[in-house]
């Protein structure tokens, strides 16, 4: 191959790669510039024009006074709802997943493999098939439209993934370790605490990031199981965008969308490597 051809090939590769990078970045760019314009400028200008004067009023409005349905308190209360849902749900599902994974990988009993298979299936079911009975159960427990109820739902359906993550991580560790420790008189929890936990940091990071992203971004459970005061931010964002009191304020919509995306985006930028690892580990789950 001549060097001329080679150079042409390289140019083509870079053009395509950079072109696609621009396409992927475009929506974020459009959101950002739109959120910084005032409504006059949005109507007179176009999507990609930079704002003439940077104006944060849309952000302020999106945060504390935009209407989401009949309430007009901005996204702030819902942001904190999401925080109150995400933190316990992530912690509980991760801890249970770690214990389950430890048992399924290192303390197998009769039927434990079948149990794992049955659990794995839960990664695949379309949640529509459990929505109605879960609503009944929550109502029966008195947890309909509560943060506790939502946390419970996220924990129950998150355990499948967290268990899968930890089980696949611990299964690579030779069982001799457990046997030797038992001979030395260490029990079930001592072995977990002193041997397994200290080497589990990477899988904890992967699992926490995975669960955080899933639960923060959840819309289905949020829209079905939350009430007016307990809606998570995704539901509030959708309400905000679809509330049209007076004229449409696209700058406020965009500021609100960025606010809703910010936590998971930050996690991705800070710990992208772990995010991708979770994505490929949980791949076949979708």
């Amino acid at each position: 191959m001549s060097s001329m051809n080679l150079r042409l090939g390289r140019t083509l590769i870079y053009t395509l790669l950079i072109g696609f990078a621009l396409i992927y970045l475009a929506p974020l760019y459009v959101m950002l510039v739109t959120s910084l314009k005032d409504i006059e400028e949005i109507r007179s200008g176009n999507l990609i024009a930079l704002p003439e004067h940077i104006n944060f009023s849309a952000w302020v409005k999106a945060w504390n006074s935009a209407c989401t349905g009949s309430e007009c308190e901005g996204l702030a209360p819902y942001f904190w709802n999401s925080v109150r849902i995400v933190i316990p749900a992530v912690l509980i599902s991760t801890i249970i997943g770690a214990c389950n994974g430890y048992v399924l990988a290192q303390w197998q009993f009769k039927g434990s493999n079948m149990l794992f298979g049955a659990l794995l299936f839960g990664c695949f079911i379309p949640f529509q098939v459990i929505l109605l009975p879960m609503a009944k159960l929550l109502a029966w427990l008195g947890l309909a439209n509560t943060v506790v109820g939502l946390v419970g739902v996220h924990v129950v359906y998150g355990i499948t993934f967290t268990t899968l993550f930890f089980r696949n991580y611990y299964v690579a560790i030779p069982n001799e370790l457990v046997r030797a420790a038992r001979l030395d008189g260490a029990g079930f929890f001592a072995i977990f605490w002193r041997i397994f936990l200290p080497m589990s940091t990477p899988i904890f990071v992967v699992t926490v990031i995975w669960q955080f992203t899933q639960i923060w971004n959840d819309f289905l459970f949020g829209v079905v199981y939350s009430g007016p005061g307990t809606q998570p931010i995704t539901v509030a964002l959708n309400n905000l965008v679809n509330t049209s009191v007076g004229g449409k304020e696209y700058n406020v919509d965009m500021a609100a969308a960025i606010i809703a995306a910010l936590p998971t985006l930050l996690v991705y930028l800070v710990a992208g490597k772990y995010f991708v690892r979770g994505l490929t580990a949980g791949a076949v789950k979708g």
Partner: protein, 290 residues
């Protein structure tokens, strides 16, 4: 006694999960399947009416539109995502500079919720102020782009947004696959005089078969479950022209007090997932044994 308890500990630790799973997964699935054979509307009631709800479901034009949309959406979403993902992965694998930064850019939409994606694309595709205005400002004053409010085209806006969100993930899957290929194989082919294109077409792509398979399973799974994106981008509209089965189920089960129909549609969705999953798991298990 203590020794006995100690031996039972692993089972004890698994017990809460096992109970939650049997109740909240298998029990609930059974409940929904059962409900789909009753005439429940507002409240569950347990008079068996056979397949009546399924007949009602398939006689409902809105459900048929949702099913048609699902085929269109799934097919285009998978084909385009595979094409873009594979292309980006192959090019990224050619020792390019700033590979890490590019990968980060291609994959960041995966970290964002579908509701945010829908909101963003709703604005970009806005008839009047979005892309249409942008192109008109460039001098093409007759340019029209109103897919979002066009009955026949709205479903394609969902394809666009979904591809934008998920193709980076397909890229990551293919890139991992390409990195797993032995370099010597490629060198050997090139010593034999095969061109780069031929090497990819005849040697590398056939080796990517498991990745294709895996990616198709993941993407079709995402497609069947798609709900948030439609809700945020088009709200299923105009009318119900861009409804998907998940949106149909939500509307009928929770807004229209048609529990039986909603349950029947959920059961059909479950069957759809099983139809993809069972052959996949079967082939995976078989290749494990070999």
């Amino acid at each position: 006694m203590f020794k006995y308890l100690e031996n039972q500990l692993p089972k004890l630790v698994m017990a809460p999960t096992a109970i939650a799973m049997f109740v909240c997964m298998y029990g609930f699935i059974a409940w929904t399947v059962g409900l789909s054979f009753t005439k429940s509307r507002m409240m569950p009631q347990w008079d068996f009416v056979g397949l009546m709800q399924y007949e009602k479901l398939f006689a409902n034009p809105r459900w048929m539109v949702a099913l048609d949309n699902l085929w269109i959406f799934t097919f285009l979403f998978i084909v385009i995502s595979l094409f873009i993902g594979l292309m980006l992965a192959i090019f990224l694998d050619r020792n390019v500079r700033a590979e890490g930064a590019l990968r980060t850019i291609y994959l960041y939409p995966m970290a964002i919720s579908f509701v945010v994606t829908g909101t963003a694309w709703k604005w970009i595709l806005n008839p009047g102020l979005g892309i249409e205005k942008l192109v008109r400002d460039l001098g093409f004053t007759d340019f029209e782009f109103r897919w979002l409010v066009d009955q026949d085209m709205a479903i394609y806006t969902i394809v666009i947004a979904a591809v934008w969100q998920s193709s980076g993930f397909v890229m990551a899957m293919f890139l991992a696959g390409l990195r797993g290929i032995d370099d010597n194989l490629i060198k050997a082919a090139q010593i034999d005089g095969a061109s780069t294109t031929r090497t990819y077409w005849h040697i590398i792509l056939p080796m990517m078969k498991p990745v294709f398979f895996g990616a198709i399973v993941v993407l079709s799974h995402i497609a069947i479950k798609s709900f948030d994106l439609v809700q945020a981008l088009t709200g299923g509209g105009p009318g119900y022209a861009s409804d998907l089965p998940a949106n149909f189920m939500y509307t009928f089960a929770f807004n229209r007090a048609q529990m039986g129909v909603g349950a029947a549609s959920a059961v059909i969705m479950l069957c759809g997932v099983l139809a993809i999953l069972v052959p996949y798991l079967y082939s995976e298990l078989r290749s494990d044994k070999q």
